[in-house]
Symmetry: C2
Subunit: 269 residues, 2 copies
């Protein structure tokens, strides 16, 4: 894979749009989240409003459930929302629009008739390619909700930190994914209470800041590039991982799981 | 799932055999590992010898690669092995023996023709059910090796801490899995060096002790029970997870991934 990336042309890489990039600043450092408005336009716009209102400042990561999710927001239910809707209609599944190009995987997927990547995000589609929905892979960013499907807003957010919980697909709104600093979330101490709740405030990590990259001075922004998932280099990465040819492997798998496909990121040259 | 477990008869539960159970004592507390000699008889016996020689005492967890594995052993290569073979022939794939009963999953798997559970362990089989091999799910314990397939011994061990790296199946010897205390491994700080190496000794967690449960005084042993994967209760758990009926889910997946199947554990009543 390193050889493919080293040989890739600059045009196979893209810079995340700062208008749709969030910086989650934790005690351990920065986590960079890329939002994808194509997956959930209303929720993405709402999260941008909530973030810009300063709502998340100082709120805790109050749930870290091993092999499932880390979640943050106002567990106490006492913080007033100064901007953004408190509830939104669900955006679990979207129609495929004419301009959308999904790079499909050649291998079957147990959870959906078709799977692949849309602008760097793992997605699934129906057989006819008429609707698509995000797949819950490691590092995916979603919007917590209660039992009623319209109870999410983006004031509660979670990141997948374990084996892909694909049973969540089509059941919850996904807005983005972690593109840098994932280990600052995945290595957080797990909550011992049911559902991974961290019962005591001193066990919880605090969010120093959650900001939109566009609102951060350019010199303080993370300089990252992502491999385009519609590029020839990405197709080569997928094939190299479907059938590992490095000296260590004796039996290439001949198959790849959607959530095992690496989504290469690099520091901007 | 809680209802199924609450209603399960005592006979659907088993106590791990202390002769094939390891206690990995870390600063954060105990991790319990169950070995399965059916998967890799020579490696399991060798690991028992190495463990009983005290080899692992004070050695570091020197590699924690995000979304992949945590690995421990003698990174310095200077500790003499007092017992156990230094190299063993690979035990990647085994013939299915007449007495082995695999509880098969009803859903297809992309990596193997058939998958299911053998005595609590996720396994895959060929179409004819003549050979089986362990599946690299979250929490699985394997034996590190170099490029040559016969370079593993059990003096280097790893645990899967991320999305199942099924490409490792049939390429490395698996001997067991974590049955308790997984979060003491999965939440370890990730290594920043290539392959998740923790370059500085002070970043590495130290193994206080690694012991065979049978060698530990009965009153100090962990009192755990595991749901039998050949029980009716386990089949009910699988079905409950294939199609989630709780109030939160709107769209049941109608499918389960081998590595998403919970393997229930409880404290002994």
């Amino acid at each position: 894979m390193a050889d493919i990336l080293a040989a890739s042309p600059a045009s196979d890489w893209r810079t995340p749009n700062p208008d749709y990039t969030l910086y989650l600043e934790l005690d351990g450092g920065r986590v960079v989240l890329e939002l994808n408005p194509a997956l959930a336009p209303q929720h993405v716009q709402n999260v941008l409003k909530i973030v810009r209102s300063g709502y998340f400042h100082g709120l805790p990561i109050y749930r870290v459930q091993d092999n499932f999710v880390a979640q943050w927001g106002d567990a106490s239910g006492t913080r007033p929302m100064l901007d953004g809707a408190k509830q939104l209609p669900p955006e679990f599944v979207s129609p495929v629009t004419p301009g959308q190009r999904v790079t499909e995987l050649p291998d079957p997927d147990g959870f959906a008739p078709r799977v692949g990547f849309l602008d760097g995000f793992p997605v699934a589609m129906d057989q006819a390619r008429s609707t698509l929905w995000p797949a819950h892979c490691y590092g995916v960013l979603g919007v917590g909700r209660d039992n009623a499907p319209d109870t999410g807003s983006g004031a509660e957010l979670y990141v997948v930190i374990g084996h892909a919980p694909r049973q969540l697909d089509r059941n919850i709104t996904v807005i983005g994914r972690v593109i840098y600093g994932m280990e600052r979330i995945s290595a957080l101490p797990r909550g011992a209470a049911p559902m991974g709740m961290l019962a005591e405030p001193e066990q919880q990590s605090s969010i120093r800041e959650l900001r939109v990259a566009a609102d951060v001075a350019p010199e303080e922004r993370s300089k990252l590039e992502l491999l385009r998932t519609d590029s020839a280099s990405f197709l080569a990465v997928v094939e190299a991982r479907r059938n590992r040819r490095d000296a260590w492997y004796l039996t290439p798998a001949g198959h790849i799981d959607l959530c095992n496909v690496p989504l290469p990121m690099r520091q901007k040259p």
